[in-house]
């Protein structure tokens, strides 16, 4: 079968798609920020060495890591309002779902980075007279940050892709806007190919940038170490 591609119809509704891109960027950015806070909190709880702190954090993390993101979206939108007694709009529900699930993954990234630093580093810093938080801030975290960066970036790219699930809550992200354009133009092939292309190019550029940063960081660490 021969098909006549026609991107003109999509171009005509570029404003709608653009507002979708902005919608996607908005929830991605907010969810990364909130997710980092949740992740740092969970990682601190797990590393605290106190059972009553580490256990809830462990099971929270495990639960979010072992259930589908889509369930989190529906749960945040339809079930959570019943628990809280307030209704949530699609934006709030999407941000809650995205930031809690990415928080669970970030927690593992942060925890993994900290425990990957050899015990000698802690002992050395203590021997120099540093106290607990100072050791973490001045000795451990600077070293761990470099190791956390690649998995952190990878997780954030996953989050950006997961934002497309917010369309199921009728939040006007890129996919939702594409569905609207499609229902006007009846051009699913062009519309969905275009938004796949937008995601592809964005993520490819971001991952190239991330690799560049990683490369420079590693080189900087090696030169400073002599």
């Amino acid at each position: 079968m021969h098909y006549e591609w026609d991107f003109g119809a999509v171009w005509e509704y570029r404003q709608m798609l653009l507002s979708g891109v902005i919608g996607t960027m908005k929830i991605a950015a907010v969810a990364i920020l909130v997710g980092v806070v949740i992740g740092a909190l969970l990682a601190t709880m797990r590393l605290s060495g106190k059972r009553w702190l580490s256990w809830p954090a462990l099971w929270f993390t495990e639960f979010y890591r072992n259930t589908p993101p889509l369930v989190h979206f529906f749960w945040a939108f339809y079930a959570l309002p019943l628990v809280l007694g307030v209704s949530l709009d699609p934006y709030a529900a999407a941000v809650i779902a995205l930031s809690t699930q990415s928080g669970a993954f970030y927690a593992e990234v942060f925890r993994g980075g900290v425990i990957s630093i050899e015990r000698g580093q802690w002992e050395g810093a203590r021997a120099l007279g540093m106290q607990g938080p100072a050791v973490l801030r001045r000795v451990i975290l600077p070293q761990a940050a470099q190791r956390m960066l690649p998995p952190f970036m990878e997780r954030s790219f996953e989050l950006i892709k997961t934002t497309s699930l917010a369309s199921t809550l009728a939040y006007s992200d890129l996919l939702y806007q594409a569905m609207q354009v499609n229902s006007i133009t009846f051009r699913p092939l062009e519309v969905y190919t275009v938004i796949a292309g937008i995601f592809f190019i964005t993520l490819l550029v971001l991952s190239l940038l991330a690799h560049g940063v990683e490369f420079r960081l590693t080189r900087a660490m090696h030169t400073s170490a002599g």
């Binding site: 889509l70 790219f157 991952s207």
Partner: protein, 221 residues
């Protein structure tokens, strides 16, 4: 506000949820082996020195890894039929999307695994008079298999979670059944919580096994 929990809607309709679990399991059981197989073939391409083989493989991997699974499923259901003139059933579209996505990730696991074998192993096999495919089959694959096991288990878990997206194109798996029940009985809190718990119970053992395997291989290395 005091909310009164009422799980009767869940308990009365457990068979509907069970049917959903069966469909979820079916999607996974077809898609996972198929993804491994296709992933292996693609890894032979991306891992080869021949640019004509490796370039298309790289494009395939990057396209499927850098676009959302949700868009891939929707694309196969709504856009692909226009290109071919053939309407796919929701099930076939879901399987196509899931398999193509997971196979891109699987091929990277294979490629990484094969690259991790020291070249001395290849040279040794060659010195013993083995051909490329013999060396691959008898020397390389057995060594990398155990190293790739945790990564594949993780991929299996990701795939299990991704099957829920098939509900968006009306494949009647667990997520779909859960949503249908919750809108029929107006009990979203109980039903969606039950769905989440079912997913957790099904997926967590795999995840636990993966972390155990990772620890075991980390100790050996």
């Amino acid at each position: 506000m005091t909310f009164v929990w009422d799980f009767s809607a869940v308990l009365q309709n457990y068979q509907v949820l069970l049917k959903g679990v069966a469909m979820t399991a079916f999607l996974w059981a077809i898609a996972f082996p198929a993804s491994m197989l296709i992933g292996f073939v693609i890894a032979l391409g991306t891992g080869s020195r021949n640019k004509l083989l490796s370039a298309p493989g790289r494009v395939y991997v990057e396209v499927f890894r850098n676009t959302p699974v949700m868009i891939q499923l929707i694309w196969f259901f709504y856009a692909f039929p226009i290109l071919t003139g053939h309407q796919l059933t929701p099930l076939v579209a879901a399987l196509a999307g899931l398999i193509l996505n997971a196979s891109a990730y699987c091929s990277e696991i294979f490629r990484g695994g094969m690259k991790s074998v020291p070249t001395g192993q290849w040279e040794g096999a060659r010195a013993l008079g083995m051909s490329h495919s013999q060396a691959l089959r008898r020397i390389i694959v057995p060594q990398v298999f155990s190293r790739m096991l945790p990564a594949f288990t993780n991929r299996g878990i990701e795939l299990a979670k991704n099957t829920s997206i098939a509900s968006v194109i009306a494949v009647q798996e667990l997520m779909y059944q859960g949503r249908a029940l919750s809108s029929a009985f107006y009990r979203p809190l109980e039903i969606l919580t039950a769905v989440a718990v079912i997913y957790f119970v099904v997926i967590y053992p795999g995840s636990y096994a993966a972390s155990r395997l990772e620890k075991r291989f980390a100790l050996r290395a």
